[in-house]
Symmetry: C2
Subunit: 158 residues, 2 copies
Amino acid sequence: MDRTNSIVDYMDCISCQKPSENELIYETQYWKVILAPDQSYLGRCYVTLKRHCGDLAELKREEWLDLAEIVKKIENSLKKSFGAAMFNWTCLMNDAYQNIPPNPHIHWHLKPRYNHKIEFAGLTFEDVEFGHHYARGTNREFSEEITQKVIEKIKENL
Amino acid sequence: MDRTNSIVDYMDCISCQKPSENELIYETQYWKVILAPDQSYLGRCYVTLKRHCGDLAELKREEWLDLAEIVKKIENSLKKSFGAAMFNWTCLMNDAYQNIPPNPHIHWHLKPRYNHKIEFAGLTFEDVEFGHHYARGTNREFSEEITQKVIEKIKENL
C-alpha cells in the first residue's frame, strides 16, 4: 500500500482536517488558503493541498496550474490590503520528518514582506528584516476579532 | 516602460548571465539548474528562470509546468545520487530588495535534506538540523574538482 495515500496517514494528518471557517481565506478545487496563526508578517498564510500528498514531485499538472492562479490572486490581495512589497514562498515540510515514518502534506508558507511600517486595526507592524531572510522564532497571535478583520480585508481584495 | 523588462535591468542582473559550463547541471526551455556555491547541503542548487521576471505572480503557465517537470527530475536525481530524504524549496529574492529600485529575478533555492551521514568524493556531510528549518550562516565551498564530481553525479542520474 502506498503509505502517502493510506487511510491511517490521512486520519493522522492535521493538514487534511477541514479548516475552521474562522481561519479559511478561500479555497479552490485543489488548494485551501488559510491565515497562519503567527502574524509576525501581517497576512502570512498557508496554501495547503486538499489531497494528502507529501512531495512536490508528485503534484499534478492541474494542481500546479491552480497554484499559479492562487499566487497571482493572493499576492495581489496582500498588496492591496496591506501594501506588501514582495513575498517569500517556501515549501519545507521539515517538521513532518521528526516522526518515523514521516507523514508530510504539501503546504506552502507565504510570508508577505513590508518595506514600510503598517498600521492595521489599531496595531503596528514593522518588517525590520526587510531585504533579508525572514526572521524566525517570532510569534504574534491575534485575538479572534483582529484575525477576522485581517481575513475580511484579504477577502475584500481577492 | 515596464521596469521588470527593461534592458538596463537585464544587463544589471546576475541571474540573467549565462552560467559557466562548470556550474550548469542542466537547462530546459524556461529554466536553468545550477549548482549553488555553498554546498553545506550536498547537491544544493538554484533553479533560475531564463527570462528576466521578478515575481512568481507573473510566471506563465508553460513556465510553471516546466518547473513541475524539473522538480520531479532533480529530486529524483538527488535521491539516487546522494540519498536525499526530502527537499526544501524556497523562492525568496530578499537580497534584490536591498537596492532601490529592486531588480529581482525569479530563482528557487533547492536544499536537499539528509537523514543520515553521507560520504561523497572523500568528504563527509551531516545534516544535523534534519527535521528542522535549514541552517543559515553556513558556507561550504568545494574545489573545482569536487564541484565537477557533484555535477557529474547529478547528471548521471537525471
